[in-house]
Symmetry: C2
Subunit: 258 residues, 2 copies
């Protein structure tokens, strides 16, 4: 098509980590206003079905194709919402939508595209552990689908050298069984074994699992593809509390332990 | 005191970037349930006054003292909410509360402390620019109040070397007029001048200002203390759109430009 039909719009919506109490009013409003919902099936499943609103569930490996389908529908005049877990701008659909626009027909550049931010997984996990991301940190995907594994290792090494706390997204999958173990081994060469590692799964939901272990004992078996992992720095502190989980936090004065 | 009065509780609440549409129901509920609100005055000012709920506004430089006052009130049996802009776990009050607990009387370790996450500034700014944080990135405070400036420079250099997109918090203040300019100079030595820099202020609010400039032209005058700055990597893409702001994003395939 040479031009987009008028009135079409694509909103990329972050649904937060999973609990309804952590979805913003802006996200709910964007979902309610849509004629068509696109997204990875488990995220769509969080939303009540509504008459007159179509649903287009897809596999989580089909990001670009899903983005293109949503853009086509918007260019044809539909109000489209593409839903993501967490924040759509962090290892999620917003980048795939931008990439599809850049590679797609000129009409897609004329579309109104809006991104509605959300609480991303590392913030929800950090909240349950104390404040491990309270100071300088990085967020890194362990997936080597689209970047060479050597680059992941380089980034881990430089992040540890810089003293960044490290949040790991996509730590394991069936296709990537050994990468997380290798990442822990590599970080053990750079950081004290006492550095706290937070494993967070389903933070804020009924089936939440949060565990804190020292880096020396961190094992990849403790994670699955839905786990977000936060690896402290040499500055990170662990406050033991009787009968309560420990608090892990990044002190305000950084560099003391370097 | 040797033990906390029963029933007291401290909740550290993230109010998001500023728009009411981006505050989670969980945050509103935590504020509503509190007997006493603590926080930096502009954040408290976002909340309606309520009878029977006391307010304790403080200066933004008094983090530890504010945390201690809130913990004291909770230990005396009050339902206390400490409010933060954005996410309380990112360069905000949650770490100060943990630090005060570690340094404080044993009774504070027995308190129920809860952190309610929120949409942090970089996510709100990224959403308005496209998806600049779509892949590996770091978040760095330019404040050298509590870490040596040399450490800030080291982290910037290593982050650029690693190919991380860089989100800068606290880029300037009256006491730190030259640091941001120095950071841009340093990054210009490491990164192509075409790398996009996003300046975001009041993202999602009526007085929002978002600007995208190439690193070669980035100037510290474009920022103030409420600006969050996102500096792309060599992989970052800028999609020009006629009559619309450009889309800045991180492509899924990283390392291509390295």
């Amino acid at each position: 098509m040479s031009a987009a039909a008028p009135g079409g719009r694509l909103t990329v919506v972050g649904l937060g980590p999973g609990s309804a109490a952590q979805v913003t009013p802006q996200a709910l409003e964007a979902v309610a206003a849509a004629d068509a919902l696109y997204g990875y099936a488990p995220y769509l499943a969080r939303l009540p079905e509504r008459e007159g609103q179509s649903r287009h569930a897809s596999d989580n490996r089909e990001e670009l194709r899903r983005a293109a389908a949503a853009l086509e529908a918007a260019a044809a005049g539909a109000q489209v919402a593409m839903v993501s877990g967490g924040d759509p701008g962090v290892f999620a659909m917003a980048a795939a939508v931008c990439e599809a626009i850049e590679a797609g027909p000129p009409a897609w550049r004329a579309l109104e595209v809006r991104v509605v931010p959300g609480v991303t997984a590392m913030l929800a996990v950090a909240a349950r552990a104390g404040a491990p991301l309270g100071h300088d940190f990085c967020a890194l995907s362990l997936s080597d689908n689209l970047k060479p594994w050597e680059l992941v290792e380089t980034r881990l090494r430089l992040a540890a050298e810089a003293g960044f706390v490290i949040a790991l997204y996509n730590p394991v999958s069936r296709a990537r069984p050994w990468q997380l173990g290798r990442a822990f081994d590599l970080l053990r060469e750079k950081l004290p074994g006492t550095v706290p590692v937070v494993f967070g799964r389903a933070a804020g939901r009924a089936d939440e699992r949060i565990a804190v272990v020292p880096l020396a004992e961190a094992r990849s078996d403790d994670a699955d593809m839905a786990t977000c992992i936060i690896i402290g720095s040499a500055d990170s502190r662990v406050v033991a509390r009787e009968g309560l989980p420990p608090l892990v936090y990044a002190p305000r004065a950084a560099g003391a332990a370097r």
